[in-house]
Symmetry: C2
Subunit: 660 residues, 2 copies
């Protein structure tokens, strides 16, 4: 076929019919089946964002002509039966495609992935000073002698009865104003957003809702921690300043990619960004509806919202193109968010409720981190403080009240269980805690919810790596001792591995193990994070040992065993009392911003003040990283407590031959 | 049937199927066919808003059970053929209804209903100082060493290159910002709304559009005069401050009522308000598209809009419930409009373009009048000035630069040709100018566009009334002289009338006449307006003769012959040099507000300063009105020029027997 003919055949159109939905679409030949399904807004999962890696976007070609570029993960019988990987299969001519009904996945994170409302600092230092307030008004009814407009009449009453000289109202409020006032016989309660702030100026209060008569309604706020994996919403009662309930769910965007990079790739597809935006909103809306139903409150009684999330999550929520976050030099569209209302984003709260999105510092230091710095209090301390939030990326901030320096290291998903054979999220059945006997090299472990073991979550992986190392089964380079007299260490398909749990043990239905390749992923991840600490300190001329407080935020941080994390060189070897676990600092920051209007200025100031250090532009980072690719580190002198532990064990692993 | 059974049968549901559209709807029995059609969004005309007066909402019942409460205007053969008046015919059970295809009506006003752009004060005193400005920027591209967000980078360039320290951007702008900047290789032109004003504070400039490279686009504004009958849009080039084109059309809302009262009644119907809002927007959008097509500009190049209209029109455009405008004590929802963007209203301009709606003073003194007062300059003069805008209502403002007093008199539609048998709008074929011979009592007339005579428009009616009076055919009470030796005066169906044009004369295909009942309508209309002048003057202790300038604005005012209007007692008998015709003052005010940002403050100040006098609450109004129910007035001494004209004619009509 000539080039011209090839071009022609690619631009030929083909009709794709999807069953059982019956959706039909005409697309150019050469379109992937996944793209065609997205155009039809069908729910085909694509956790790898259609990069052909996960094989989850299976569909069945029941008739027609397709071109398969890969059948990754499909058995020959499946292929013969028409199954295809949608992202790797391209439209040749018209075809009929069956989309399998999606196995319902758990919507709600289990176990310790989600902070309980109790972990929020209720009764904390933040002054209860919300932006939302309600005032009761007794408005003089109009007459022929006083034909002042309804809105001006309300303004006059607010000024006379509450000293509020001006008030703004938007179209949706004005459209019902005449009827609202008359139905209430001119006695109303008005909910206002006070102190709406634009570039150093407070705007006049803004009308959010008019209630008839004396105020007998709820006035609520919702703080959302919009995580890449989990989303948590906290319901705050403005009357008391207390969190009255919370709800959590997996981020529905997971269907479009497990991590931020996959989602950015997904967003590039036609209608992909729209779908991601919609899924973020749907996830939050489900939580809002759950909170409303459980607490007997109406949608319109949610008068304000705050959202903290990483830069990719907030870009997607706002429908901002995330492509430039991923491409060098990694630039976000905005740091501070514009004024937003719930109705504008499609959130199921009062449509006029303000939505405050926590500002970000860079593409990989987002609103979750600025919120965290606020909630940690480090922006107001004299002590040299290191704030850490470890997830797919390790984000860290070093500083005092006078300066703040932040960076992000791409740790990869290893600590969240990704890219590790037996890795998993911290849900039921995840091994979260491991001990290996010095004598027998047999493991003892605990699982989330004490469920039968299914895999290993982040904290379990850190434990396991540390245990293997200090028991001498693993050398500092990450090689297993194949000579060790235990059947737990074995070689499968040429790769050495340690079997944590055999099929049948504790209810497990398959072997759960850690391979040298998994170990290598984990070492690279911890090396990236540790190198980040070093570069951050060096660049301001301090030493890690000078850091007076190490604050650990984020969902993951809550369950890490510090000593075991130090043992593998993930955390610096400092006295345990210098470490503090803060819980879900992102959610706490969002809550603080909801509770106290000044916090919103603080977080903007923090974001503006924070200097972002781009590690890929730092020429010392690679050296630090390479030095950290050992257990615990090339320079054992930096890890005296580990040195001591190894020394106690005598010759132990330090005696095994090195292969740097 | 018992009451209970009646209630039950009313709540039974019936299915109505409309042909030829095929729309089907289930409605409770007892719903009118017009309401059912509106629910289906079918285009059934209802100029009287479904009050059973106009008979225009004809449909044909092809099957099923309906209850006819009136067959107004239908012939028996038509009724037998199934024709029904939709607003007066109620659903009994399921039925099939045929909606006749609508005769295409003229969309564009003819003749002198619409001001030409030349009539706008081009090169006037208003300083060319628009709010919209465009700045060229050469933005430093991002790098790993400088990861400032796209928006902050743009802000930095604006500050450094143009001294503009802050700028705001909304979501629709931010959603494309990353791509806009990169496609333009970081050299862009940004169009900003400067000096956006909220309660005494200027907000930072607001981003409306980003254009690639040096600015080579148009930057346009549109000023709209949103009349009850006609809508005119003027296209303004911000680069020159000149009006470059204009377009006009009938207000599509006419299908829902000829006058504001009918439309307010229509708005009460289910989905009625939504339809009226949509029709206002559609009318303006047609004009915007016409201006865009004819001038080769893009939708997004319309960067700002202003709209002047009466209070009902602006309420309907904004989707505000107009019911309270009509019910005593006649209260509008708002006087000043909130901040609006074109996208919010669905207008086909740049979605971020600000739409400034001229503020109103009361339910019947609207933005057309405040705009008129601004464009007339009376708000800045020392002279005692009377501003008049005569339409369905006669609105008038008396004052100087120090004070302004306004009122509105319900003149009824007579001067717009409504409620008068041969009355019509000033479109082709309307008799606009009449002369009656003293000797023969034969008329001579001129029609709009010199087309065959079809009816008589407002200026023609004033002429005719005056001519009949001064020629002695009509006495001061409005009775025709049946003894006069002319066949032009005759009695038909018991009502005396004067035949202006017989079928066949000048191409007319039917008699065109003025009956005593028409004359009575016209006298009531002119009496209401004249009484308004008197009350306005009295209430501030001045005399009509003290008024130094009488400014006549509005579309109607442009074509009135002052002497003839004085002759019937519509205008006060003052020297002709005190009168000034200003043309379409509503459009001029909208144009001034578009051209010069300070005018927007002036008009808000004028609206706030103006005192509204509610005539229905004034106990002298009825006396003044009654005194004015004669030609020219009970007190002929107030009309010396008319007295003189009558005297010249000798015995003439003053000698006819009076019957007060």
């Amino acid at each position: 076929m000539s080039d011209a003919a090839a071009t022609e055949s690619r631009t030929a159109m083909a009709t794709i019919t999807f069953s059982p939905s019956g959706e039909t679409i005409e697309v150019p030949a050469g379109t992937s089946l996944l793209d065609a399904a997205i155009l039809c807004e069908l729910d085909v999962p694509a956790p790898c964002a259609g990069q052909g890696r996960c094989g989850r976007c299976r569909v069945r070609v029941t008739s027609g002509e397709v071109e398969r570029r890969s059948n990754a993960g499909l058995a020959t019988t499946e292929i013969l039966d028409g199954w295809a990987v949608a992202c790797q299969t391209y439209v040749g001519g018209s075809a009929e495609i069956e989309v399998p009904e999606r196995r319902r996945e758990a919507v709600r994170p289990h176990g310790h992935a989600v902070a309980e409302p109790e972990s929020l600092p209720i009764g904390c230092d933040w002054r209860q000073d919300p932006a939302v307030r309600t005032f009761e008004l007794d408005i003089e009814p109009p007459s022929l002698a006083d034909n002042t407009s309804d809105f001006d009449r309300l303004r006059r009453a607010l000024a006379q009865q509450h000293g509020i000289e001006e008030v703004r109202a938007e179209l949706p409020m004005l459209r019902r104003l005449g009827t609202d006032l008359r139905m209430a016989n001119w006695k109303v309660s008005v909910t206002l957003e006070m102190r709406d702030w634009v570039f150093g100026t407070y705007l006049p209060p803004r009308l959010i809702r008019i209630y008839p008569g004396a105020f007998s309604h709820a006035s609520m706020g919702v703080a959302v921690d919009l995580g890449t994996t989990s989303v948590v919403a906290y319901l705050l009662d403005f009357a008391t300043g207390r969190v009255v309930d919370s709800a959590s769910a997996y981020n529905k965007q997971i269907a479009c990619g497990d991590d931020v990079i996959s989602r950015i790739i997904y967003a590039k597809r036609k209608r992909g960004l729209g779908r991601l935006q919609r899924l973020a909103v749907e996830t939050i809306n489900d939580l809002l509806e759950e909170l409303q139903a459980r607490n007997g409150i109406e949608l319109y009684e949610i008068h304000e919202m705050t959202v903290a999330g990483n830069t990719t999550m907030t870009h997607l929520l706002l429908g901002l193109d995330p492509q430039y976050l991923r491409a060098e030099p990694y630039i976000p569209t905005i740091s501070a968010s514009p004024k937003l209302a719930a109705g504008e984003l499609g959130l199921h709260a009062n449509i006029l409720a303000r939505v405050h999105v926590m500002p970000s510092v860079g593409s990989y230091v987002g609103g979750d981190i600025t919120a965290g710095v606020i909630s940690s209090g480090m922006f107001a301390t004299d002590k040299l403080t290191l704030f850490i939030d470890i997830g797919t990326n390790g984000e860290m901030v070093l500083g005092t009240k006078d300066w703040l320096l932040a960076c992000a290291c791409s740790a990869g998903p290893a600590f969240e269980g990704g890219g590790v054979g037996s890795g998993m999220r911290a849900s039921a059945g995840a091994i979260e805690d491991v001990y290996i006997s010095d004598d027998t090299w047999e493991p003892t472990f605990r699982t989330v919810d004490d469920a039968p073991a299914v895999g290993i979550c982040g904290s379990g992986l850190i434990d396991l790596l540390g245990e293997l190392f200090v028991t001498g089964l693993l050398d500092k380079s990450g090689h297993l001792d194949l000579e060790a007299p235990t059947a737990r260490v074995r070689v499968r398909r040429g790769v050495p591995e340690y079997v944590v749990c055999r099929a049948g043990e504790g209810g497990a239905d398959h072997d759960i193990n850690l391979t040298e390749s998994d170990i290598s992923s984990l070492i690279r991840a911890k090396a990236a994070i540790y190198a980040g600490f070093e570069v951050l300190c060096r660049s301001v001329g301090v030493d890690l040992a000078d850091v007076e407080e190490i604050l650990i935020g984020g969902a993951f941080g809550q369950y890490v065993n510090i000593e075991k994390a130090i043992r593998i060189g993930l955390l610096p070897d400092q006295p345990v009392e210098r470490f503090k676990f803060l819980g879900n600092t992102s959610a706490q920051g969002a809550y603080a911003a909801l509770l106290c209007v000044n916090t919103r200025h603080d977080v903007l100031e923090v974001a503006a003040k924070m200097t972002y250090l781009e590690l890929s532009a730092d020429n010392t980072f690679m050296d630090e990283y390479t030095s950290a690719l050992f257990l615990p580190h090339t320079d054992l002198a930096n890890f005296p407590s580990v040195q001591e532990a190894l020394a106690k064990r005598g010759a132990g692993p330090t005696a095994t031959p090195e292969s740097p």
